[in-house]
């Protein structure tokens, strides 16, 4: 162990600029989320009403609690929306700036692709692609370092899960080709 007292400082050249324009405010997002939850609450309320939501001789039926919970959820959402429209509100905080959204998408888009690839190529190939791609393109780390790290990581995962612990992960054509 090196005996240093220095702090680790990780530099972040691609950090979002502080003055990036705001894309949307918390208020807008809150209203959208509330509306979505309201729709979900109504859908669930309907389904539970269909299941049976009364209180019969032996206590509540299967849909009883979920039905009233959906009603409460809907109520809380309506309250939230109503409050956002009250005039007394001061200006809302920024939900996300353009720079921030760009950075979030930089993680989210690869994650989404990773999930898609897992479905087709199996988890290990997808994980190699994700780690290597992310390190190289977003972390701007040298290609060979990225590829090597990704390969070792995927291999270690493979050995640990498939071989040592018999935990079976989704696999794709490459593994099939190698007889696994």
């Amino acid at each position: 162990m090196p005996e240093t007292e220095a702090e680790i400082v990780v530099e972040d050249p691609g950090a979002p600029a502080g003055d990036s324009p705001a894309l949307t405010t918390n208020r807008t997002v809150e209203i959208v989320v509330s509306l979505l939850l309201l729709a979900l609450a109504m859908l669930l309320a309907f389904d539970n009403w269909r299941t049976g939501m009364s209180w019969d001789s032996t206590g509540p039926q299967a849909g009883y609690f979920p039905f009233y919970l959906s009603v409460i959820l809907a109520g809380a959402c309506v309250y939230g929306i109503g409050r956002e429209f009250l005039p007394r509100r001061q200006t809302s905080e920024t939900f996300v700036t353009r720079d921030q959204l760009r950075r979030v998408l930089q993680v989210f888009a690869p994650t989404l692709l990773f999930c898609l690839f897992t479905q087709w190529l199996g988890l290990y190939v997808a994980s190699f692609l994700l780690v290597a791609g992310f390190m190289a393109f977003i972390g701007r780390i040298a290609a060979w370092k990225s590829a090597l790290t990704a390969f070792l990581f995927s291999l270690v995962m493979f050995v640990t899960f498939e071989i040592a612990f018999d935990v079976i992960m989704p696999k794709g054509p490459l593994e099939a080709l190698l007889g696994h």
Binding site: T58, A147, V159, I168, L178, G179
Partner: protein, 330 residues
């Protein structure tokens, strides 16, 4: 990049090396026994016994893994098996839920989607009551239940399943009414009976064995046409064979539950043959025989046409019971 992929391939190939290549089919990966119930239940115990029997007697080269899929009252396991079509490294340890669940909960599942391997045992049901209660016979119990207010509580596993069906038929034959409490497992039903939160349950022998030995519960009768065959003393005074049948006690309710192994659908005949042979060997092991006696199961080995015939008849019987009990969803 190419070289890297090459080394990846060779590394994988090294790891993938497996032993031998005999002419008959053999599993090349660990075999998973899927249990459609929670930990510690009768299915889980049986799966572990099979795991040990196979491992100790070296009946198979690959290891066996028990995986518990008791979610959604066991429906999780059924859907899992159905979606594993063609995968011969996966076995379901099935019981009557394969007939009942599709009827009561409209689960898109039919046991004919799977490949039957063998029936390995038949399980009994016994009517139990708390030992502190004064009822020594079914008649005393039924009379007390008839006049009880609030009604006696009957514990069982799951809703609209074998335990619930038995309770309904017990009600029909005795005229008593029970408040049926669906617990998550037979173990829970047993403890709740001991804790006096219920007056009775209809557990399998194995589920109540330990509390019976501790003198906390009392068996009243067994739901079969004949007594259980095992005559070794389980408690100080009684053996399984000393429990009278319900029919002799004037309550003619009978139910036997299968314990059977299934492969997923679309497996080859060679693969099925391997497992048929494997389970035939399992039923010949000492572990299996001891287990049957200890848990008071009926040993049986059915496969092929016999098994299919058994399943069809059993399916029809369960369907009629479920319909009569009013548990079939519409």
């Amino acid at each position: 990049m190419k070289r890297k992929l090459g080394s990846f391939a060779s590394a994988l190939a090294c790891l993938a090396l497996t032993t031998g290549s005999a002419s008959a089919w053999e599993p090349s990966k660990p075999v998973e026994i899927v249990v459609a119930a929670g930990a510690g239940g009768a299915s889980d115990q049986m799966a572990r016994m099979i795991q040990v029997a196979i491992q100790k007697n070296n009946l198979m080269k690959q290891p066996m893994v028990v995986s518990l899929k008791g979610g959604a009252s066991g429906a999780e396991a059924l859907i899992y098996m159905k979606s594993s079509s063609g995968d011969a490294n996966r076995l379901l340890i099935a019981y009557s839920l394969i007939y009942m669940l599709p009827l009561s909960a409209k689960i898109p599942f039919n046991w004919r989607d799977l490949t039957p391997v063998s029936v390995v045992a038949l399980d009994q049901f016994v009517l139990w009551t708390n030992a502190q209660l004064p009822y020594k016979t079914v008649k005393e119990f039924a009379d007390a239940a008839k006049s009880a207010n609030p009604p006696f509580k009957m514990g069982g596993t799951g809703s609209k399943r074998e335990d619930h069906v038995l309770t309904v038929f017990l009600e029909k034959k005795t005229g008593a009414k029970f408040a049926y409490l669906p617990y998550k497992s037979g173990g829970e039903a047993a403890t709740q009976l001991v804790g006096n939160h219920t007056q009775s349950n209809v557990n399998n022998p194995s589920e109540n064995l330990e509390v019976w030995r501790a003198g906390q519960v009392r068996p009243l009768c067994v739901f079969d046409k004949e007594r259980i065959q095992y005559k070794t003393k389980v408690t100080d005074t009684m053996s399984w064979n000393d429990i009278p049948t319900c029919r002799d006690q004037g309550v003619d309710v009978q139910y036997l539950m299968l314990r059977a192994m299934f492969l997923p659908g679309k497996v080859t005949p060679e693969q099925t043959a391997f497992y048929v042979d494997l389970f035939r060997k399992v039923t010949e092991t000492r572990e299996y025989k001891e287990y049957m006696e200890k848990q008071a199961l009926k040993p049986i080995f059915l496969t092929g046409k016999d098994m299919l015939k058994f399943l069809e008849e059993d399916d029809a019987l369960n369907k009629s019971l479920m319909t009569e009990a009013g548990f079939v969803a519409n």
